[in-house]
Structures are given as structure tokens and as C-alpha cells.
Amino acid sequence: MNTVENPSDFRRQVANIASQYPDSRSAVLPALRLAQEQYGHLTREAFEEVAFALDLTPAYCTGVASFYDMFHLDPVGTQLVEVCTNVSCALVGAQQVLEAFESELGIRAGETSEDGRFTLRTVECAGGCGWGTVVAVNHRYREPVRVEDVPAIVEELRSAD
């Protein structure tokens, strides 16, 4: 995924989003999200495309994107596994859940597997505190996840595609 499949289609979608707002600049976050879905992560070309669609500069769009955790400026795996390690989840064993994912996936937190399929990272409070540990796979929450649940989750993700 190195280009948007159809640039004019991308620009049309961004224009549609922008029409919801009094100022088209409000569409930066949704447009970046759309570009990230198409490019995999936010490449230089992705920023140029978003900037063109909204009449901004690539530097401006990069500056905005770098503020937000959900935008990826580097490649990420097709399966993004995020483990919440904030206080409530940590109190009920998030660190052990994280270590179970590290061992099952064979990568450390913050890393992407060599085949590009998995990225594992810790995140700050995901908002499922009473049902911890919260694990999100491509932003779909699984809660609560216990250490003993991890092998089956990884098995399921490996057999998906």
C-alpha cells in the first residue's frame, strides 16, 4: 500500500467530510485517518495527499499527526495489539498480560514482527478500567483479558487474515 488506490476518489471523500464543518481544516483528523487506512501508515505521500485535499501544507499535516497517538508515522503491523498498562489495569495484572503477549508473539512491546503482521505496544488508559486488563486489537476491545486467555487470542490472530 504505497499509494491511495484512487486519488480523485480520496479527494472526493475528504471534500465530503470537510463539508460537514464551517472550516475545512476541521477535516484534518478524519482525512489523516482515511489516508492511514489506505497507506498503512502516514508516509510522506500520505501527508502530501491530505494536504492537497484540504489546501494545507504537508508540514502542517505532519505537525498535527505527530501530536496524536493513533497516527502512525512509522510502519505498523496489520494486527496492532495494544495492552493498557495504566493504573486500574496494572492493579489487576496488565504487566503479566503484556509479558504473555511478548512471549506468544516473540516480540517486545514497541516492536513489529519481522513479517510485518504484528505490532505490540502498551497504551495509556483505554477506558475499560472495571473490566481490566483491556487489550485492543486494531481498536476492537477485548476485556477482560487474563494471562491464560493470551495464547488463544494470539492463535486466533495468527489464523486470521
Partner: protein
């Protein structure tokens, strides 16, 4: 024990995600009633209800609405803050997936009250499921012809705690980095697109239909003085039954933790309670009879905050807790104000040193001094949110800190927070350099 349901009324047996199900429990009747009322009368009802914001700051909604600048020639905006991210808090999420139409009904009533035709719901980016539910509910409301010329835009955030701060939220909604603005001007005068804007939390807005239904004066009689109504308390941590529980304000903390929450698992003892999200000062075990309302929490030198109650058992090391909390705020500092940007980093470094047993006594004072140099010296409350809780851990659990220094290391071998990996320590955390 009967749990009174106001905001979650009707969802006792499951989610009300279909408009017909919501209507079957009286949904949208308040909207019809409200639309037959003069807008100013809606604001009067909100004022009479004494409802205070459920996001954390507790500012009365009616007062906020009455501050909106009039006759500016600009549109007035209603902005719903669904960027729930205060650690420990997961109640707005439950409102959105259990009773999404109630939030929309609240938006439409509030919009009528402030004569706004434009509503924006800023929902945190991670809440994908809740976004989809809300989007489907909004489609149903549109098809049912209930919008009456009002547009409601669902705007997804992209991962930034600070965007829950109202002016940072506005910046983000305008397509910028989410850095708070200096106030004044307040959003009621110059908010979204420099126009008068009312910003309220999901739970607050979702309570509006009920206030219209029962009348503000009657609503004000629920709960206790200065804390009208119910709140959805998020219960988490070392407790048997974690979850969200809607209770009248003034309910004793003990009742929530033990009677409703089932107490501490595995027969362990209570050590501490964070009563309102990770940014508030901690309570000790002997303060567990404090009532869950604004004034009682203030008297106990803490805050009700977002209503997020985090239960901590006796295995926990309070130095590790302070470190993890400080790491969070360091990670989420927007970088605009020096005391917060640099101070949170200092806090983390000193706490790491204490935890590792490398600190001297004077570094405890240094830690408190850093906290003091953050408190009240930043544009937004994020700096305070880091300094207040950590200072309270030192103040109320000084022995935990002293023992690290005296014993040259952590004396809590079973603490669940031992070496927990925070995102700020994750080297490959991917957003810092352009590939």
C-alpha cells in the same frame, strides 16, 4: 440493593440501541416537551436542577449555558465532550453503548435551549465500537425526522488525553494539535470557530432529558446539597465487581466498594482509594466512609472528579503508583507550558530514583517542591492533575517513601505495579520521527 437508574434508565436488561426500544421506555418524550417550551425556559430548568458537570470539574451546566454570549451575529455551538480518558473512567462509554439515543435526545434539547443548530460530539478515537453505535443511532434519529434542522456531527479524536480539556478539544476539532488555549476568552464567548460555545460531558448531556421530564426543581432534590442527582461511578482496581454503578450523590464510598463492589478480592485489606480518577488526591483506608459527593470529598481534601473510584489493596507500593501516574501525565503533557512539560519529567525521574532505592531524604522534599512549582502555574489543569495526586501519596503514605530510602529499595515485593511498562518507556513507541 436497589440501584436507582436515571441516565441508564430502561437499559436494565441490555442495550437500547434501537430507536423503537428507546421510545418504548419514554424516549424522545422529553424532546417533544422541550420543543414546546421557550428556549430560555430550558436553561431555567437546568439552573433549577443544579446539575453539575459530570466530566470532572463539576461546573453547573445551567450557569455555563446562561454565560453564552448573545447577539454576536455568530452561530452558537453545542459541543459534547466524549473524549473520556481520565484513568479509571469508563462511564461515558457505557452511556454511549447502552443508551445512545438518550445522549442524542439530550443534545437536541440542549441545542434548543441555547438556540443552536450545530452540535459536535467529540468522541475519543479509541472508542470505535461506541462511535459505530452512536452513528447508527444518529442515522435512526435522522430517519425519524427528529433533528428539526439541527446537524449533529460525530468527530473522532485520534489519541490524546489532553483533548478532554475543553479548549484543547476545540483546537483539535478545528484541525490542530490539541493544545489548550489561554482563558479568557472563555468558550461561552469565543469557543469553537471563535463563536459562543457550550461544552458539556456525555453524562451531563444525557441527564438533560430526565431534568426536562421531572422538572429541574424536583431533580435538585435528588442526591445531597450541592450535589444534585445521581452519578455513574466507575469502579475499578482491586475490587470483586468492577463496573459502572449509577448511585445517588452522597452514597458512602464504603457502600460502593463493599456492598455493591463485593469488596477486595482474596481476603486482602484495603490500602487506599482514588475517588475521582487518577488526577485527584488519594484517600487512606480509614477514610472509606467518606460520602461520594462534591462537598464531602472536598472536606477530605480530595475531589469527586470524574467519579472514577480506583480501589487499591495492601500489596501496592505507593511509590510505584506515583511513578505510574506521573508517567501517564508526562506522556500526555501537550508541551505548551514549561512547568507541566518539564515538571512531569522531573517527577518521573525522582520517583524512579526513590523506587530503585537510590534516593536521599532530601529528594522527597525535592519531589514535593517540583509538585509545588507545577501547581496552579499552567494554562490548563493537566499539570495540577499530575502534581496533586503524587503530592498526596507522599503526604498520606510517607512511610512507603521513607522505607524505600531506609531499606535501599522497594519493600513491596508483591506489588502489582512493579516494573509495569508505561508507554513513555516504550522505545519504539512510534510517533516521533518521520520515516
Amino acid at each position: 440493593m436497589p440501584i436507582e437508574r436515571f441516565v441508564l434508565k430502561g437499559a436494565e436488561d441490555g442495550a437500547l440501541t434501537q430507536i423503537d426500544d428507546y421510545r418504548a421506555v419514554g424516549g424522545f418524550e422529553s424532546l417533544a416537551k422541550a420543543r414546546a417550551m421557550e428556549p430560555a425556559k430550558i436553561v431555567d430548568e437546568l439552573l433549577a436542577s443544579n446539575i453539575r458537570g459530570r466530566g470532572g470539574a463539576g461546573f453547573p451546566m445551567g450557569k455555563k449555558a446562561s454565560f453564552l454570549a448573545k447577539g454576536t451575529g455568530k452561530p452558537t455551538y453545542l459541543v459534547v465532550n466524549a473524549d473520556e480518558s481520565e484513568p479509571g473512567t469508563f462511564k461515558d462509554r457505557e452511556i454511549m453503548f447502552l443508551v445512545p439515543h438518550r445522549l442524542i435526545e439530550g443534545c437536541l434539547i440542549a441545542a434548543h435551549g441555547i438556540e443552536s443548530k450545530n452540535v459536535f460530539i467529540y468522541i475519543r478515537g479509541e472508542y470505535l465500537h461506541e462511535f459505530e453505535i452512536l452513528r447508527a443511532a444518529l442515522d435512526q434519529v435522522r430517519e425519524a425526522d427528529l433533528l428539526d434542522g439541527v446537524t449533529i456531527v460525530l468527530h473522532r479524536g485520534a489519541g490524546a488525553y489532553i483533548c478532554g480539556e475543553e479548549t484543547a478539544l476545540l483546537e483539535s476539532l478545528e484541525g490542530k494539535r490539541g493544545q489548550p488555549r489561554s482563558k479568557p476568552p472563555f468558550p461561552a464567548v469565543q469557543g469553537l470557530y471563535a463563536s459562543p460555545s457550550l461544552i458539556n460531558n456525555v453524562e451531563t448531556v444525557a441527564t438533560v432529558p430526565l431534568i426536562i421530564e421531572m422538572g429541574g426543581a424536583k431533580y435538585a432534590k435528588e442526591g445531597v446539597e450541592n450535589s444534585a442527582g445521581t452519578r455513574l461511578f466507575s469502579l475499578s482496581g482491586n475490587v470483586v465487581n468492577g463496573g459502572n454503578y449509577e448511585l445517588p450523590l452522597g452514597t458512602p464510598l464504603r457502600e460502593l466498594i463493599y456492598d455493591i463492589g463485593g469488596g477486595i478480592p482474596d481476603g486482602r485489606a484495603l490500602k487506599a482509594v482514588i475517588p475521582g480518577g487518577s488526577s485527584v488526591p488519594v484517600l487512606t483506608a480509614d477514610q472509606v466512609d467518606t460520602a461520594l459527593d462534591f462537598d464531602s470529598m472536598a472536606a477530605a481534601k480530595t475531589m469527586l472528579g470524574s467519579g472514577a473510584v480506583i480501589v487499591i489493596d495492601d500489596r501496592c507500593c505507593m511509590v510505584q503508583l506515583g511513578l505510574r501516574v506521573a508517567q501517564f501525565y508526562m506522556h500526555e503533557s501537550c508541551g505548551k507550558c514549561t512547568p507541566c512539560r518539564e515538571g512531569t519529567r522531573w517527577m518521573v525521574q525522582i520517583l524512579e530514583k526513590i523506587e530503585d532505592g537510590r534516593a536521599e531524604y532530601e529528594e522527597l522534599d525535592l519531589l514535593l517542591d517540583v509538585c509545588d512549582r507545577i501547581l496552579g502555574k499552567c494554562l490548563c489543569p493537566l499539570g495540577d492533575a499530575a502534581a496533586m495526586p503524587v503530592a498526596s501519596y507522599v503526604d498520606r503514605f510517607r512511610d512507603d517513601f521513607r522505607r524505600h530510602i531506609d531499606e535501599g529499595g522497594c519493600p513491596f515485593p508483591d506489588s502489582p505495579l512493579d516494573h509495569v511498562l508505561a508507554p513513555v518507556d516504550q522505545h519504539a513507541h512510534d510517533v516521533h520521527v518521520l520515516a
